[in-house]
């Protein structure tokens, strides 16, 4: 049960980019219902730029990779998701401590720092019907699984399942943050687009790490 290596982290981002591309219209459709119909386009624009960045200038270590991804997202997305996803990665960078590969606990700690960045930036609490509602249970599950000795791949699979549950749990919620909050009670009954893309992010990590373990 080794460290998560740079290649895997890059594959994480590429996998995320691919699922965003695939789910682009679905994400936009979710945002049309309770927002302004751009979440798919936003995430797709951002992750396309991130992948282009990876192709052009491969990062030298995880911190550089996260910083590059975060800066690219901040620079290219805009809207709410740009600063939030951007901050998530920007905050992960220092949390790696400059390591060349990330042991599972460090990876989880970095993700947690990222989530804290999202919360600091967006002030959302669990239950506000945002990406935080997918990320929080995911990172809790990750920590718990690692603590109970599961492999990184297993732990991330648990995290991904928790993210999916968290995402699904946003449906009945009344939004209190972001654009959906303007709808008041009418926001209930719709799945949150940001929680949906966040679940894709966790799923992509599970896939990438499983590939490394499998290899």
């Amino acid at each position: 049960m080794g460290d998560v290596d740079l290649d895997t982290l890059q594959r994480w981002l590429r996998t995320f980019a691919a699922s965003v591309a695939e789910q682009r219209d679905a994400l936009t459709a979710l945002d049309a219902a309770i927002g302004d119909a751009d979440h798919g386009a936003n995430m797709h624009r951002g992750m396309t730029a991130v992948v282009e960045g990876l192709d052009a200038t491969p990062a030298s270590d995880p911190a550089a990779l996260f910083k590059q991804a975060g800066m690219t997202l901040v620079k290219s997305v805009g809207g709410a998701s740009g600063p939030l996803y951007g901050t998530l990665f920007l905050r992960m960078a220092p949390a790696t401590g400059g390591a060349a590969t990330l042991d599972p606990e460090t990876f989880a700690k970095a993700l947690r720092a990222g989530l804290e960045g999202v919360v600091a930036r967006g002030k959302a609490e669990p239950g506000d019907k945002t990406m935080v509602d997918a990320l929080t249970p995911a990172l809790d599950a990750l920590d718990a699984a690692l603590a109970s000795g599961r492999s990184p791949a297993e732990a991330l699979r648990a995290a991904s399942a928790a993210a999916d549950e968290g995402r699904d749990a946003t449906t009945p919620m009344v939004a209190r943050k972001g654009r959906a909050s303007y709808l008041g009670e009418r926001s209930a009954g719709h799945q949150d687009p940001g929680a949906t893309s966040a679940a894709l992010l966790v799923a992509a990590a599970a896939t990438a790490v499983a590939e490394q373990e499998g290899a």
Binding site: G35, D36, D38, G79, A80, S81, R176, G178, Y182, R186
Partner: protein, 333 residues
């Protein structure tokens, strides 16, 4: 979707090329999607920066020029611009007296402007203040949400503060004035139809032929509630009543009334709406002394309107009347 475009992905970029060709009085940084008045920075004057998603034209670029904004950052359709743009623009409009960010209150805009201010503080010694505009009474429990949206009040804020900046007032005085104009403003909008975001290619929401959305914003998002299609008279009440319930508009020098077309609503209808609105204000003892009727803060091709009312004190009134020379608002020069 039927639109005049080539590839939706290039819509904003290509449109900015057209703006550049049509408006030699602007200087456009196409890479960063920043529009400047050609003579920015104006030495000694506080620079005024606003911006937001595209799709609201003439907002925001239509308000660049003497007496109003110094620069605007253009985002993708309905998507806030990014911090780099804002920081770059901030640097380039600082005439030595600092820069005021006039931010429309949306989560994305606020966060991106926040990050821009952090960037600017890290990279330059430009003094930056930000004022968030949040006039939309459709958001009722605004303390427990993202807060009220910035909608029509921006016109009054940007025009009035723009004139005050021209007079040489200082950064914190202008920020204060911006807050006061914003506080003095309330807005409420409605949609007859959804708009169609080009990248999506179909209407953001479905609205049956006999229903309308009340309490919409300016991004094609659905409103607070859906009601049966009503007469202009009744719609005017649905918009004006919550505005008047939220704030006292009597006294002062009277009010500025802004009847904004959301994009596809003919001016013939907007003036008819204004007739209804003015009658309601009359009844409430509120005196419109300045009016603006037309599509100024649009939501692409949405049909509907937004009413915005600002109570003017004598300073604000004088500043509203001061010369302005932008492509969307122009008088006195």
């Amino acid at each position: 979707m039927k639109k005049l475009l080539n590839d939706p992905a290039n819509l904003v970029a290509e449109s900015l090329r057209g703006v550049a060709r049509a408006h030699p009085e602007l200087r456009i940084d196409h890479e960063n999607r920043i529009l400047y008045r050609a003579d920015a920075p104006v030495s000694g004057k506080v620079g005024l920066l606003s911006g937001g998603g595209s799709g609201h034209e003439p907002a925001h670029a239509g308000f660049i020029g003497p007496g109003m904004l110094d620069a605007v950052c253009a985002g993708e359709v309905f998507t806030s611009p990014v911090p780099d743009q804002m920081a770059e623009a901030t640097k380039n409009i600082d005439g030595g007296a600092g820069v005021l960010h006039l931010v429309w209150n949306y989560t994305g805009d606020v966060m991106n402007f926040d990050m821009a201010a952090e960037l600017a503080a890290a990279e330059t010694d430009t003094q930056v203040e930000a004022v968030v505009m949040n006039d939309d009474v459709a958001v009722e429990d605004s303390l427990f949400t993202a807060g009220r949206r910035g909608t029509g009040a921006a016109i009054a804020v940007e025009k009035i503060v723009g004139a005050a900046a021209d007079q040489g007032r200082g950064l914190s005085e202008l920020a204060d004035l911006a807050r006061r104009v914003n506080d003095a403003s309330r807005s409420m909008g409605m949609a007859l139809t959804s708009c169609t975001v080009p990248a999506k290619g179909s209407p953001t929401f479905d609205l049956p032929d006999d229903e309308i959305e009340i309490g919409i914003g300016i991004h094609g998002e659905p409103g607070r509630r859906r009601v049966p299609l009503a007469s202009a008279h009744d719609i005017a009440e649905m918009l004006v009543d919550p505005i008047l319930a939220d704030r006292d508009f009597t006294g002062g020098e009277g009010v500025f009334v802004f009847v904004n077309g959301m994009g596809a609503t003919p001016q013939l209808e907007l003036y008819l709406m204004y007739n209804e609105i003015a009658a309601l204000l009359d009844k409430a003892g509120i005196v419109p002394v300045r009016t603006l009727v037309g599509p100024y803060v649009t939501s692409l091709d949405m049909a509907g309107c937004l009413v915005s009312i600002t109570r003017l004190d004598d300073d604000m009134l004088r500043l509203w009347d001061a010369p302005v020379a932008t492509s969307a608002l122009r008088w006195g020069m």
